[in-house]
Structures are given as structure tokens and as C-alpha cells.
């Protein structure tokens, strides 16, 4: 009887599949690949249908086909201007974003920790919050001496509100038991802040940062289109898209869109990575 059980359980434990093997047998992955290829073919056919079949498909028919986009991209890869606009946009995003983190995190924590501070400063914050960051663009241009600074300011605003709200929410939802446990072990206010509230808020800080990063890219793009495009030397991917549009090279517009998508994706992956390395206790399981 016991022998039978043993032999059964031994034979039943087969070898573990390797990572590659797992990936290759993953049905969802293949379906995704199929869907993406299908979508690109669909796009190509729709765009080309006027040429191929003589029928213009509404809306999507006006968009240049993927083949054309790839050709445009290949050509543009050699231009330093294209790479410079990557550099400029990324720089702006990180400038505004970093300032927003530096100011927003302490501000949010203060709001959460101190009741009086919250009572005083939260109402004006709440009044200003619903105004979309882009509505600040003109006012910002008027106020700041250089375009660069005004873009940085609007970018900062975009991320700031999200970060503060997330930090505030995160800090307030920390389990009161952690605070009590620390208190009964003799922690003072300072310890509570550094040893409990700050690490307890980290997950929300990074969530806020990830959302803020997305908004930052939107804002940078818009302000580049609105202000950077107006003056010479502004540059940036937003300006690249806008000038391509003005110049009538639609394929380049799409190249710009994809570039900015990649840039946005990379920067939010970066934020996620930062989150993972600063929160080792979340990496497990």
C-alpha cells in the first residue's frame, strides 16, 4: 500500500517547465501576437484600399499605412533633430516630475500628519485641483520669464496634484495598529514619521508617481505644441509632431506619436522599477 503510494507520487512529479517553454506554450501570448499583427494588417489594408481597390474607407483611410510610417522612421533616424527632441522632452518631463515629487511628497505627508495644517492648506488645494493643468499654460507663459520655465511649471502642476492626493490618501490609510505598536514601544512623533508613516506611504507614493508620470507626458506634449512650437528652438517631441503636421508629413506625425508612446512607456517602467527597489518587502510573493 505505502509502496504504491510512493511510486505514484514519484512518477507524478514530472519536471518543471523552463521559462522559455512556458512562454512558448502560453496561449494568451500567441493570441496577443496574432491580434497585433491582425491590427497592423487591417490598418495597412484600410489605408491602402484607395490605391488597391479604389474605395476610400472613412477616417482610417486618411491615415498613412504602416509601411509608409516605417519608411519615414528609417529616414528620420539619421536626423539629429529627432534625437534632440527625445532628449528635450525627456528632460522637461523629469525636471517637472522631480520638482513635483520633491515638493509634493512632504506636502502630502504634512497634510496627512498634522490636522491643523490640513485644515488650513487643504481647501485652497482642493479649489485649484479641478482646474486641468493645461489651462495653466497661458498664465504660466505670462508669469515665467522663459518658455522652458513655464513648461516646467505646468509639468510640475500636472504631477503635483496627483502625487499629493495619493500621498495623503496613502498616509491616512496606514493601519492605526502600526502607529500604536510603535507608540507603545516608545516612539516619539519624529520616529513615527520616519519609521512608520513614511515607509507605510511608499506604495501610494509610487502609485501616485506612476499616474503623475503619465500626466506629465501629456502636459509636456501639450505645452510644447502650444508654446514651444510658437517660438524657435523649443523643440521636443510635441513640437516635432506639430511641425510635422504643419509641414504636411503625416507619416512623421505617426512616428512622433509612436516615439512618445515608447518614451512614456519607458519612463513609467522606470518608475515601477524604482518602486520595486525601494520596497523590497513588496517584491516577495
Amino acid at each position: 500500500m505505502t509502496d504504491a503510494v510512493q511510486s505514484k507520487s514519484i512518477s507524478s512529479v514530472s519536471k518543471k517547465k523552463s521559462k522559455l517553454e512556458k512562454m512558448l506554450t502560453n496561449k494568451s501570448l500567441w493570441r496577443g501576437v496574432v491580434a497585433l499583427i491582425g491590427a497592423i494588417i487591417f490598418w495597412e489594408v484600410c489605408s491602402q484600399s484607395k490605391v488597391w481597390f479604389g474605395v476610400e474607407i472613412p477616417w482610417i483611410g486618411k491615415v498613412p499605412p504602416p509601411t509608409e510610417v516605417i519608411a519615414a522612421w528609417q529616414k528620420i533616424l539619421h536626423y539629429t533633430g529627432y534625437w534632440e527632441s527625445w532628449y528635450l522632452s525627456t528632460g522637461r518631463v523629469f525636471a517637472g516630475f522631480t520638482i513635483a515629487m520633491i515638493i509634493g511628497i512632504p506636502f502630502g505627508l504634512l497634510l496627512a500628519v498634522n490636522r491643523y495644517f490640513r485644515d488650513v492648506f487643504f481647501p485652497p488645494f482642493e479649489i485649484l485641483r479641478p482646474i486641468p493643468p493645461l489651462a495653466w499654460v497661458p498664465a504660466s507663459i505670462i508669469f515665467w520669464p522663459t518658455t522652458e520655465m513655464s513648461i516646467a511649471f505646468v509639468t510640475f502642476l500636472g504631477a503635483f496634484f496627483t502625487i499629493v492626493i495619493n500621498v495623503l490618501g496613502g498616509a491616512r490609510s496606514i493601519d492605526v495598529q502600526y502607529l500604536r505598536a510603535a507608540q507603545s514601544m516608545g516612539a516619539n512623533q519624529w520616529d513615527l514619521f520616519w519609521k512608520v508613516i513614511l515607509p507605510g506611504t511608499l506604495p501610494s507614493i509610487w502609485t501616485g508617481a506612476a499616474v503623475g508620470m503619465g500626466i506629465t507626458w501629456e502636459v509636456v506634449l501639450a505645452s510644447e505644441m502650444i508654446s514651444g512650437g510658437g517660438q524657435q528652438g523649443g523643440g521636443g517631441l510635441g513640437f516635432f509632431i506639430w511641425s510635422s503636421y504643419m509641414g504636411g508629413t503625416v507619416a512623421q506625425v505617426i512616428v512622433g506619436m509612436i516615439s512618445i508612446g515608447i518614451a512614456g512607456y519607458l519612463s513609467s517602467s522606470f518608475i515601477r522599477y524604482l518602486g520595486v527597489i525601494t520596497m523590497p518587502w513588496r517584491r516577495l510573493f
Binding site: 505514484k8 507520487s9 512529479v13 514530472s14 518543471k16 517547465k17
Partner: protein, 279 residues
């Protein structure tokens, strides 16, 4: 097949084996398990957590397939080699570990849900019957409340009512009182016994609490740790109706003593395995 009325809900589990296959690693959850539950019996399955008790329940309910063996209900094949997964049906009602009352329906709507979707009753009829049954269970005055608004004890009671309104042959309970404290639990036990004495429905009850098992059951089946097989079967001959005072009788104490050893041995094994796994 025997007379419908007398043999409602007899379960026969024959040589059931279940092997899971996550990521190509075979894990045996149940190993060659056979068990006969006569109609109208309260069968308590005791074993350490994660030992495969729930797998057995899932197989009867039709949530999971089985690898080998057969399960019969009233002589009819539920699942077997030709049909690895049983059909889910209203003749076997499950009450879940964490409670599965729909939070977006009131207790009354929850209870009335089954008959309505099965198309056995009209909406009005179902609601009327639901209210009647809830009142019988002593919770008629909260029928219009949502599950989030009542205590877990009341929620669990109405979940059992929700199962019973469908007139099931078998009631499958998966550690339904696990999260409750001992005192609430004892009240829940009494109310379940009350229901049982009225309906005499076959009950398949999973738990890891030995006292609960002996207090409620006609038969207590102790399972080994994973892969689960039968370790010991104890017949409980304490007369019904039972109440909380049964818990402190000599008879009860002796039964607990008798079973304890077997349960502890397995629990210890499971516990050590768990600690090892984490290390």
C-alpha cells in the same frame, strides 16, 4: 434505484484520485479515496488545512474534474472516467468558506435568486417563499437588508436558507464558520442542527475543528494530510437533538479524546510541512 423519498442524497465516492497540474508540476491532492454517505446523514470531514478536503467537495459540486475514480449521487454517476467533471446543479448546494451571498442583492433577493433563475417559480412566488423561509430561520426582520449590513452570523444563516430554498438533496459546506469566534460558532451550530432536524438533508461538512465535527456529525471522517486519504472514521452516537450542553458531557469528551490523536498527528505533519516549505 430505491424509493425516492427514503434515499435522497446518498453519496458514494469510489477510489477518487485528483492530480493537479500547475506549470507541469503534478501535485496529488486526493489519493484513492472511497467514502459512502447514506442519505440524510451528516458527514463531517476533518483534516488539516490545505489537505485536499476542498478538492473532494469541489469534485462533488462540479467545480473541478477528478483524475480517477467515480462519484455517484443516489446511484447515478456524477463524475467518473467517462465524465471527469460533474455538472453543476441545484441538487447539490454549496455554502462557501468566506460566504458568497451577493453583496448587491438584499438577503431576500439572494434567497429568491435560485428559484427565479431556474425558472421554477415566478418572481413574486419566490420572494414570498424567501421571506417566509427567512422568517422561519429567525431573521425575517432583516430580509430587506444587504449582506454588508448584517452580522456575519446572520449572513451565514441566510446563505443556508438560500441553499435550502432549492430543496437540494445534498448540502456541501466548506468550513463555513471558520472565521467566527467560538461563541458565535456555537450559536450557528445550533441553528444548523435545527435546520437539519427539520429537513434531514444529507450534509457534507468540511472543517478542521474537531469539536465542531463531533458536535454536528453522525460520522466524522479524519483525512490525512496531502494527498488526502481516509485515516479514520468515527461514528458519533450522541442522540439528537443536541444543544450546547452536549459539548460538556462525558460522552462527548470521550469521543473527542478518541479522535484527537489521529487529527493531531496529521495536523502536525501538515504544520511541519508548511514550515519546511517556507524555510
Amino acid at each position: 434505484m430505491a424509493d425516492q423519498n427514503t434515499s435522497r442524497g446518498a453519496i458514494s465516492i469510489r477510489n477518487v484520485t485528483k492530480i493537479y497540474d500547475p506549470d507541469g508540476v503534478n501535485v496529488m491532492a486526493v489519493d484513492d479515496c472511497s467514502l459512502e454517505i447514506p442519505a440524510g446523514e451528516v458527514c463531517m470531514i476533518v483534516g488539516p488545512s490545505g489537505c485536499g478536503k476542498t478538492t473532494l467537495l469541489n469534485a462533488i459540486a462540479g467545480f473541478h474534474s477528478i483524475t480517477e475514480g467515480e462519484i455517484y449521487l443516489d446511484g447515478q454517476l456524477l463524475c467518473g472516467p467517462s465524465k471527469p467533471k460533474a455538472e453543476q446543479g441545484a441538487d447539490r448546494m454549496v455554502v462557501f468558506q468566506h460566504g458568497a451571498l451577493f453583496p448587491w442583492k438584499t438577503l431576500g433577493e439572494n434567497v429568491a435568486y435560485g428559484p427565479i433563475v431556474q425558472g421554477v417559480m415566478s418572481k413574486a412566488e419566490a420572494h414570498e417563499k424567501a421571506e417566509h423561509m427567512l422568517a422561519e430561520a429567525g431573521i425575517g426582520d432583516v430580509a430587506h437588508k444587504y449582506p454588508g449590513e448584517v452580522s456575519s452570523g446572520m449572513a451565514r444563516r441566510s446563505e443556508i436558507v438560500r441553499a435550502l430554498i432549492n430543496d437540494p438533496k445534498v448540502l456541501l459546506l466548506d468550513e463555513p464558520y471558520r472565521a467566527m469566534d467560538a461563541l458565535t460558532k456555537s450559536i450557528m451550530h445550533e441553528s444548523l442542527l435545527e435546520v437539519y432536524d427539520k429537513t434531514k438533508v444529507t450534509i457534507f461538512f468540511i472543517t478542521h475543528d474537531l469539536e465542531e465535527a463531533i458536535f454536528l456529525g453522525d460520522k466524522v471522517v479524519v483525512m490525512t494530510t496531502r494527498p488526502a486519504t481516509l485515516k479514520k472514521t468515527v461514528d458519533v452516537k450522541i442522540p439528537r437533538p443536541r444543544d450546547y450542553q452536549t459539548l460538556t458531557t462525558e460522552e462527548f469528551r470521550v469521543l473527542v479524546e478518541e479522535t484527537k490523536e489521529a487529527v493531531h498527528e496529521e495536523a502536525k505533519k501538515a504544520f511541519d510541512a508548511g514550515e519546511r516549505e517556507l524555510a
